[in-house]
Assembly symmetry: C2
Homo-oligomer: 494 residues x 2
């Protein structure tokens, strides 16, 4: 391709990329993606670059004249790709492992091409209605009652923020007009294991860090309903106003599940909003034998669940189900004249359920994923991930040098190297060091957490490419790295 | 393609779509997009469907067994497409017109395929560094000083929320710990013409609707700095704590530009955070002769500008530039152990600058757009849109039956039908009716607003496919519809 200047082509065009050029570049990109997904194992999982390396390889200023797409795609492969941590790699086990599946990627391509903004119904009826419809399908698959209405946001952080804004609206009905100044202090109750997004929501909502009370968890990292009761009593006696209870099913550190039914009991006694955060584990409620972990969630006021985590949908796609959507509307609805439409009252305008006005057509990819895999296909994939996680947990339990730190209700295993050859103080640095060694090989990627004050490793399974052989290899790498670390510790001490 | 059951294929696969199938379906999708973009004029701009029509055409439940991709793509074309309002149509002039350009769409395809979550540096170094680098390029093109650091969010609503959270952090340093309860009431100052997202931010932040004071604007819809001073004085005497001043360059109703330099003067006198909302108009600061509207924005503390509006980037891509990023960090940073990394301190973790933890690799499409069109190519396209808007405004001005309601600093024309044949009370319904007539033809789509109590029509230009001939036709449709409406009014009265 010649160095055609897209900015000043001979005919003085001020248009978009010509269709024939789009077709050619698009096919090249699709072919690359197909190959990438087939051969992702040839890349290191964790990008093997230093901070600043990518920026150093890029020019200091944007080009004045347009550049050919071919050259841009070359740079994407040569400059950008080495800086990518491959979440698609079958041995990516950090944070929560995910899959941006084939049908999901195709959905994103079409979403970008339509480029609609479904803020109000008429600005793209299909954007609104496919979102409502797909979320009803999903709600039924999850076994939530019909009273729950869904809306798609970008992330669970925003979904939880919106839900807790609705809770605050209920607790402080006057705040919509005059704000929180002058009101008594308010508090959200969540387990010590709850996600940091709950604290971020409290900061944002003007409740402050003290606006979250972290309730004790039991030895399996599940919130203790009695401790919640006591915390509420104590705070009441101090004049603090309770705002909401947050239960987590699938906590970030260990994937533990709070006893939702018991917490719902307390929330109902106290007349409090109950928000259930199952951003990661939510998809597994589709599997009958795993639904036990969600017992009681049908009594929640709101539930957040991210299809972009364990439902094979590319980021971003977070679903907020709400049993009292009118509270969300009260918290957020404001319709200026330029957004008022003739459909007001007969069709839902999804902008009314949160902060973001702009709304990407995110339902399309989710609809593609549900249809392509089908409910049964999704269940069998989730079951397989749970099977693999339990298998890995067995290996850990059978090895006297390692210990399992938490139960494995879903597809995340939390464990640590605890060889009798190391004394207590040596264990944390040894685990950190062996983790860096494994991640440094580029063959596998795991992340860590701290539990009961000690460093633990997390292996999360959620990629459709992960097979038993990958776990075998990761287990081998972990044990080999542990031996090396012990050897170094021994020789330092010797 | 046979009705292969993706959920239960013969080999019991629990994998993703096979690569060869992805390649075939991907090519089909790319070809469809190329054709769609070339022939988008054949679709009605505004979807010609009734509320509920799409939902009525879909099955009540998700399929149990997987379905072939071919069938899903067929349904996309046959069931979803008729419900789409075509933002890509050259005669889409509602809200703010946009373009999801070819290079932007390809960027989204690759972003979906990589499916990284760039919450921390190591979770995808390229995600973080390409975002930093591309936003530095863009900042230089816009002529903002180097002190501004950028971060990409999904929407301007969230960008403004984050900026105002930082402002609240400055105004109430104690709020991070204890929240707003017990503090004096706080207020954000914005023009009456400011976007509803500012009010939504105030609601969310716990400042309430009264937490936004709408300052008078002049006869050209620009905030009056003297009125701002008076409002501040008055509120101070009542014990209200000022939090921030919001200046808008390119307001939603008329695209008017507040006098930023004068407002910066006031904000500095009062020691207040200055946030500049130029979500729509920001791109035009790249064009030297249009930069005059931004005079003084370099003194702002934060600036929001959406490349997904007038910079040819698919939704969503909103840039928040901040001159005091440490205030954003103070407002939001919380790093739990499971997100702590070895790079802490040597690389930025972009999750620290807002609520959302999950971060899509949105910089890729923006980098593609800047490179493909080049700075000069972007400038010439923006100039063309401004030329077309001014041309349309001339037609309006020259016709005695129509009036221009506001100046045209950018690419948005606000006007109304004001024929002497209609008396004052008849004008609003006539304008509403003729707008519905034009939108009902499917040939063009405009939206409306209310200014000085009266309905006005808005024609916004931002699509790369819009040519002079499209505007000629839209003008013809408007005038014809007006004549019909007058005819009906006359016959009703006669």
């Amino acid at each position: 391709m010649a160095m055609r200047k897209n900015g000043s082509s001979p005919d003085g065009s001020t248009g978009d990329m010509p269709p024939e050029e789009f077709r050619a570049a698009g096919r090249e990109a699709v072919d690359w993606v197909a190959e990438y997904l087939a051969e992702v194992e040839k890349y290191p999982v964790l990008a093997q670059v230093r901070p600043g390396q990518l920026r150093g390889a890029l020019p200091d200023a944007a080009p004045e004249q347009g550049e050919p797409m071919e050259q841009i795609l070359d740079d994407f492969r040569e400059v950008v790709l080495p800086g990518v941590t491959h979440w698609n790699h079958p041995s990516f086990h950090g944070y929560f492992a995910v899959t941006g599946s084939g049908p999901g990627i195709l959905g994103e391509l079409l979403t970008a091409a339509l480029n609609v903004n479904a803020m109000v119904w008429r600005s793209s009826p299909a954007g609104t209605e496919l979102e409502e419809h797909t979320l009803d399908w999903l709600r039924d698959l999850l076994g939530l009652p019909e009273a729950f209405e869904g809306v798609i946001n970008d992330t669970a952080s925003h979904s939880s923020l919106y839900a807790l804004a609705a809770a605050r609206e209920e607790a402080y009905p006057e705040a919509r007009e005059v704000g929180l100044a002058g009101s008594p202090r308010g508090r959200i109750y969540a387990s010590r294991e709850a996600h940091s997004s709950i604290e971020k929501a409290a900061l944002t909502l003007g409740l402050g860090r003290e606006g979250v009370r972290k309730v004790e968890a039991d030895d399996q990292f599940r919130m203790n309903p009695e401790a919640l009761r006591e915390a509420l009593e104590e705070d009441r006696s101090r004049g603090i106003r309770p705002v909401a209870v947050v239960a987590t099913v699938g906590t970030t550190s260990t994937s533990s599940a709070d006893p939702v039914a018991e917490l719902a009991e307390v929330a109902e006694e106290w007349g409090l909003w109950l928000h259930v955060d199952c951003a990661y584990a939510g998809a597994s409620a589709m599997v009958p034998e795993l639904r036990v972990h969600f017992r009681g969630w049908e009594r929640a006021d709101s539930v957040v669940f991210n299809p972009h985590k364990w439902l094979f949908t590319p980021v971003d796609c977070s679903v907020l189900y709400c049993r009292r959507p009118e509270a969300l509307e009260r918290a957020f609805s404001l319709t200026p004249e330029y957004l008022r439409t003739r459909e007001q009252g007969t069709a839902r305008n999804l902008m009314d359920y949160g902060v973001a006005l702009g709304r990407r057509f995110r339902a399309l990819k989710l609809w593609f994923v549900l249809r392509y895999f089908g409910a049964e296909g999704i269940r069998s994939r989730i079951r397989e991930h749970v099977r693999l996680a339990r298998l890995f947990a067995e290996w850990v339990e059978e090895d006297p040098d390692w210990e399992l730190v938490a139960p494995v209700p879903f597809s995340t295993v939390v464990f640590r190297y605890a060889s009798p050859e190391l004394d207590g103080e040596e264990q944390d640095p040894a685990n950190e060091e062996l983790l860096e060694k494994v991640n440094g090989t580029g063959e596998a990627f795991l992340s860590h957490t701290r539990l009961r004050g000690r460093i633990s490793l997390r292996l999360s399974i959620g990629n459709l490419r992960t097979r038993e052989k990958h776990l075998t290899r990761t287990w081998e790498l972990l044990r080999r790295s542990a031996t090396e670390v012990v050897g170094q510790t021994a020789s330092r001490l010797g």
